[in-house]
Symmetry: C2
Subunit: 194 residues, 2 copies
Amino acid sequence: MQQRSEETRLKILESAVKLFSSRGFNAASVDDICADAGISKGAFYHHFKSKQELFLALLDGWLQTIDNAIEASKDMTVPETFMQITEAFPYIFETANEGLPMFLEFWLQASRDEKIWQASVKPYRRYHKYFTDLIKKGVDEGSFVEVDPELTSRMIISTAMGLLLQSLMDPKGAKWEKVARDSTTMLVNGMLKK
Amino acid sequence: MQQRSEETRLKILESAVKLFSSRGFNAASVDDICADAGISKGAFYHHFKSKQELFLALLDGWLQTIDNAIEASKDMTVPETFMQITEAFPYIFETANEGLPMFLEFWLQASRDEKIWQASVKPYRRYHKYFTDLIKKGVDEGSFVEVDPELTSRMIISTAMGLLLQSLMDPKGAKWEKVARDSTTMLVNGMLKK
DNA sequence: GAAATAAAACCGACTGGTCGGTTTGTTTTT
DNA sequence: AAAAACAAACCGACCAGTCGGTTTTATTTC
């Protein structure tokens, strides 16, 4: 039974998310994570080659989540998909708000490494491809006016990223959830054929 | 004459910008900065209380730059101002691209400190106020349709921040300058009364 | 205006502590 | 018993900040 082994791995992953998001990637040391997971450093380095590799493993998990969400919305119409995304906003916003700081911190200091850069950029590119395809489909279906899918995708992602950053910088500066909803609505309305 | 003193201070500031932007805030050590500036650690700590205080001094300088730019555009009409901003885009984009990573890195790890958070959030709030006022003025003047200045300002900043982040993450993923230009044009066109 | 004094600027070795990662040894699993 | 999983002590590099002392600059005194 390697069940115990798998459990240890999961415990490490859980503690890592918890500490990375609460303290930041650098501030949360390997020792901290081990302590929180209730295991030793030896166990940690048995499961992960390095702190960075641990983070990459977390990234993989998120990528999986993205792919699942994309897969789940495969059979909807384009406007329906956008509706669903808008509805899921509070959850997405919260999750992203938790994950963005640690991702940024990690990325800012590690992105000079080619391999790590590749891994970090992957989720972003996947999102971009997803939105581009979605908008293209919407245009082809005739539910959207003729927009440039590439550009529009970038703009949607900009809005999301930018709002996320703003809400992080100045959490009490606005009712961010409402701002996010209004922005999305405006963007989608601008595309919808009437 | 404390001219020499002032020169040293400036040398530190210069080296700091250079190293913070090329290596990142954490990776650039105080020793590195001293070496680059050609001064000793003692001189450094004579001029700045800490590495953080040094960064806050840099922030102050940028804030000044923002204020000057705002001041300079005081007598233009609103559409003229937007035109000018759009034209200055390449320069703004480049500068921001250089400064954003170090700012983010600093902010991510230091923002738990109330004083530092205050200082960091200041430039952002100033921009937001600037755009809000500008749009309000545009609406009052009658050159813009009735939009919500608060929301629109957030959206403009989102777009800028988001594009900046995207261009940092995936520099070769698109012609970012063009994307930025197109996005701005779209946003402004959406507001202009025809 | 030259010597004496005070003050500011500057130097660089050193400290205390952190942290990622390694090594060596022990327990559990199969 | 061999291999995988885990524990615990340990290593070495790094780095922000300190401190005693030196040099330069400004001010006062005679």
